[in-house]
């Protein structure tokens, strides 16, 4: 029964992966911006970054997604009506999905990156500056790699949470894994089989990600000693 729907499920899994990876890219950019904003010297920048990370982490992602999907549609059409009367656009659910999930997890990553940055001893950057490196070189050669080492465990965790939370985009009609499983379930009247299959795909992606990320974490930890009790 499942074999007839396998291509459809795989296409859905691919959509889910694309969605999760694109959202991750946005989340990393927003996270870095949020972290540098919270560490900024200017109080106004700090306040904006703090408001972003605090408010977004306090609201369910589904509510934010519905707000961006329906509200964004309204806002864009309001703007278009002013500029070019008589025209109308539909917000692409894929774009709304990526925007929301990237926006939400950017707030979580902002906290992760901030913590990782604060965990770097100040002497490291000072030593690099004393050697005559430019600020950009310090970031690229010293503080950047160190920050990645501190941030990767939490980053891995956030990636796994984010991957699972992409399932909610099926609510705004995106043909991701959940939506495809739902269609197959409706057509065959075997919802149990197809939702188990969908769960299995998420589990497989989780296992593969965990394996790869752990190998990467081991690589980044080279030269450090782990505390063993």
């Amino acid at each position: 029964m499942v074999s007839a729907y396998l291509p459809s499920l795989l296409a859905g899994a691919l959509t889910t992966l694309c969605l999760a990876l694109s959202s991750l890219a946005i989340a990393i950019v927003l996270g870095l911006a949020g972290a540098s904003g919270r560490l900024s010297r200017r109080p106004a920048v700090r306040a904006i970054a703090t408001a972003y990370t605090t408010i977004v982490r306090g609201v369910p992602d589904l509510v934010l997604m519905l707000l961006i999907f329906y509200g964004g549609q309204r806002l864009i059409n309001f703007a278009i009506e002013k500029l070019a009367p008589g025209h109308y656009v539909d917000v692409n659910p894929f774009a709304a999905g990526i925007a929301t999930i990237g926006f939400v997890y950017g707030a979580y990553l902002g906290e992760t990156f901030r913590g990782a940055f604060l965990a770097i001893p100040a002497g490291q950057a000072e030593a690099a500056l004393a050697c005559g490196m430019s600020t950009l070189q310090v970031l690229r050669r010293v503080t950047g790699p160190l920050m990645l080492r501190h941030a990767l465990p939490a980053l891995s965790n956030n990636w796994l949470v984010m991957l699972k939370s992409t399932a909610i985009v099926s609510v705004i009609g995106l043909p991701d894994l959940m939506q495809r499983a739902g269609l197959a379930a409706g057509a065959t009247r075997e919802p149990f089989v197809f939702y188990i299959a969908a769960g299995g795909v998420y589990l497989v992606i989780t296992v593969i990600s965990e394996t790869l990320l752990q190998a990467w974490q081991r690589r980044l930890r080279v030269g450090t000693r782990e505390v063993r009790l």
Partner: protein
């Protein structure tokens, strides 16, 4: 912005709030109660106790809550035997399915959290209990669990916030929680901003209330751990 329909339907939001809080407390109570024996089994020396619990928590933590919810709400109904059994009285109800899915989900995360806390207990405390001649049961009840509960308070605070946000998924299986009310109002009046921003503000207030309550709990129960030992 047009706030009038929101004010006119404030009682709907009050009902939604009651549904959200009901779901949250039911799932946290059931999931939390089940997590205690499971965490003990998870840290057991016997593989036939620890492994099945590990498998359960891994499968639940590796799949989206939405999959678990759909499996219970749509999936289980596929089987005639279930539809003819006594359990159908409960499984027919969207509220019960949502509460059960969330209870199972939070149970898996809470089990891992408690198991981690048990593993990190100072071993001397357990040896002291043995030296005093406590039975395994007494040691568990008087020493291991109280200490593990205390150490889990900060992590459990995050878990309850995640579950609060998880309850918003109940709106996709027809329940009228805070998100459900916002979706209703949006589709009736076409007011996405007003509806979803109201919902977001309510969730934000609940999140802050939860975090504040846990901070109080930490101050009270974690005081002995903070005295530098």
């Amino acid at each position: 912005m047009n706030g009038q329909p929101i004010l006119d339907n404030a009682w709907l939001f009050a009902h939604g709030l009651a549904t959200t809080l009901g779901l949250l407390s039911a799932s946290l109570l059931a999931g939390g109660a089940l997590a205690v024996p499971m965490a003990v089994a998870r840290t057991s020396r016997h593989w036939w106790m620890a492994r099945p619990v590990w498998l359960f928590t891994y499968a639940i933590r590796g799949t989206p809550l939405l999959v678990q919810l759909y499996l219970l709400y749509y999936g289980v109904a596929q089987f005639e035997a279930v539809r003819n059994s006594v359990a159908w009285v409960a499984l027919r109800s969207a509220w019960f399915c949502a509460a059960l899915a969330m209870a199972i989900n939070t149970c898996a995360y809470t089990t891992e959290m408690l198991a981690g806390a048990i593993r990190s207990l100072p071993y001397g405390e357990l040896e002291a209990a043995d030296a005093l001649g406590m039975s395994a049961w007494q040691r568990l009840r008087r020493i291991v669990l109280p200490l593990a509960f205390r150490r889990s308070i900060p992590a459990y605070s995050n878990e309850t916030v995640m579950m609060l946000h998880g309850t918003s998924l109940a709106s996709v299986v027809t329940l009228v929680d805070v998100t459900g009310v916002a979706r209703d109002i949006n589709s009736r009046f076409y007011l996405p901003f007003e509806a979803f921003l109201t919902a977001a503000a309510l969730y934000l207030a609940l999140t802050f209330a939860l975090v504040a309550a846990f901070r109080q709990a930490e101050r009270r129960w974690l005081a002995p751990l903070r005295r530098g030992n």
